[in-house]
């Protein structure tokens, strides 16, 4: 299992479009992927779940990956969030 802590760097926060992209990226992989924030623990492959976080700029997410391709999955998704959803 891999755990990563990432910070939302975008002004608009984790809004609909990047949420959809995260889910799309996650669905490519076989590993389980969960995101935790403020007592919420949601499945990263579910769009409603990711949007439920309503993560604003500056908020911190704990990502957990577990499965055969967890390393690549972590690299791509953590990179996408840290990189500001390719919006910066």
């Amino acid at each position: 299992m891999i755990e990563s802590r990432v910070k939302i760097v975008n002004k608009a926060g984790l809004h609909t479009r990047p949420a959809a992209t995260i889910v799309k990226l996650a669905s490519k992989y076989k590993s389980e992927f969960f995101i935790s924030k403020d007592g919420l623990h949601i499945n990263g492959k579910s769009i409603i779940g990711v949007m439920t976080l309503a993560a604003e700029m500056g908020s911190e997410l704990l990502l957990t990956f577990e499965g055969i391709d967890e390393q690549q999955m972590n690299d791509e998704i953590s990179g996408y969030i840290r990189g500001g959803f390719d919006e910066l």
């Binding site: 669905s27 919420l40 623990h41 949601i42 769009i47 779940g49 704990l62 957990t64």
Partner: protein
């Protein structure tokens, strides 16, 4: 088996008086006598306190961090004091960092008490409710606020009044089963992110999140609003969790219960909930099986356990050494050719 992740469990550490007042004023018929300057004070304990002894001067072990309830005892005691002594007595309590004061049973605060409350920024309320009733109501409200909560990924549906939570891997079809059940007249509590709250001992109440409520995603369609689509009959706001149903793609390695004699229980927040694992195979109608799970639960709840009854029939037959067991169920088809 499901695991509630440690990150999924949370507990509110404190609520401020503002939140308490906004949620409680109509429920407990509260009237504010001071101003709102003390509304940022925090309540950290679900119990309330009657400060009789503290008013009399004994402040050792004074549970100041609790909501302070002034009932008839406290008010009568203060009434019998001179204004000077009364102020002195109240001062002792106001020295502590108390969250707020509530007068019960229609008692009104003394003018000097209101002045002191405003000066010290301590919210002062009164309520017409009786002390015992108000104490019970506030404890229940605070108990709920400070109760442990767990967020879980799944779909929660009320099926014939039985709260069934569908869990399983992403994409296994939980939302589709929920949608199918709604179409058949059952009610959706929440989809995707369910917050379970421990209520008392042995009870879990589930609800969707305030953001998502009754929205749902169906793969290939996108986000749907179930309440708009099916109307108010298709939803409910909260439901007791009674059965957990895990959906999984059928695999040779897994074993599934065949007799149902041994009930499997799953522990969430120390509450044991009946747990069923359902394999998904082609041609299997999970919706109908879900309805049967609910009916089975209701029968069991009413004292009828089919597996147990069948077991007893078998035991009796073995005991009687009867040869009729493998015989036809009807002895003679008398002129019945239907």
């Amino acid at each position: 088996m499901i695991i509630i992740d440690k990150n999924a469990i949370s507990r509110t550490a404190s609520i401020d008086v503002k939140f308490f007042y906004n949620n409680a004023k109509s429920r407990f018929k509260l009237t504010l006598h001071s101003d709102e300057t003390g509304f940022s004070r925090e309540i950290k304990d679900q119990n309330v306190h009657r400060p009789g002894l503290a008013l009399a001067g004994f402040v050792e072990l004074f549970s100041y961090e609790r909501v302070q309830i002034f009932g008839n005892t406290e008010i009568t005691y203060l009434k019998n004091l001179s204004v000077e002594k009364r102020l002195k007595s109240l001062h002792k309590i106001f020295e502590f960092n108390i969250p707020c004061i509530i007068l019960t049973d229609g008692n009104q605060p003394f003018p000097e008490m209101v002045d002191l409350a405003i000066k010290q920024h301590v919210p002062l309320f009164s309520s017409p409710l009786l002390t015992t009733k108000l104490t019970y109501l506030i404890s229940d409200f605070l108990d709920d606020q400070f109760a442990p909560r767990a967020s879980i990924h799944g779909s929660f549906v009320d099926v014939y009044g039985v709260g069934i939570l569908f869990i399983g891997k992403s994409g296994v079809g939980k939302s589709e089963v929920a949608l199918d059940l709604i179409e058949r007249g059952h009610r959706l509590v929440g989809d995707d992110v369910i917050i379970l709250t421990k209520k008392g001992e042995g009870i879990l109440i589930g609800a969707g999140t305030s953001l998502v409520k009754h929205f749902m995603e169906i793969r290939g369609l996108g986000i749907l609003d179930i309440q708009k689509m099916f109307g108010v009959r298709a939803i409910r706001q909260q439901k007791r969790l009674e059965v957990i149903c895990e959906l999984e793609v059928w695999s040779d390695g897994s074993t599934y219960t065949r007799t149902g004699l041994d009930e499997t229980l799953e522990k969430i927040l120390d509450v044991e909930i009946p747990y069923v694992k359902l394999p998904i195979i082609p041609g299997k109608n999970i919706t109908v099986i879900s309805e049967v799970i609910a009916l089975h639960y209701l029968l069991k709840h009413n004292g009828y356990d089919a597996a147990e009854v069948f077991k007893n029939r078998l035991e009796r037959a073995i005991l009687n050494k009867s040869k009729e067991n493998s015989e036809r169920g009807v002895n003679y088809f008398e002129h019945d050719f239907e």
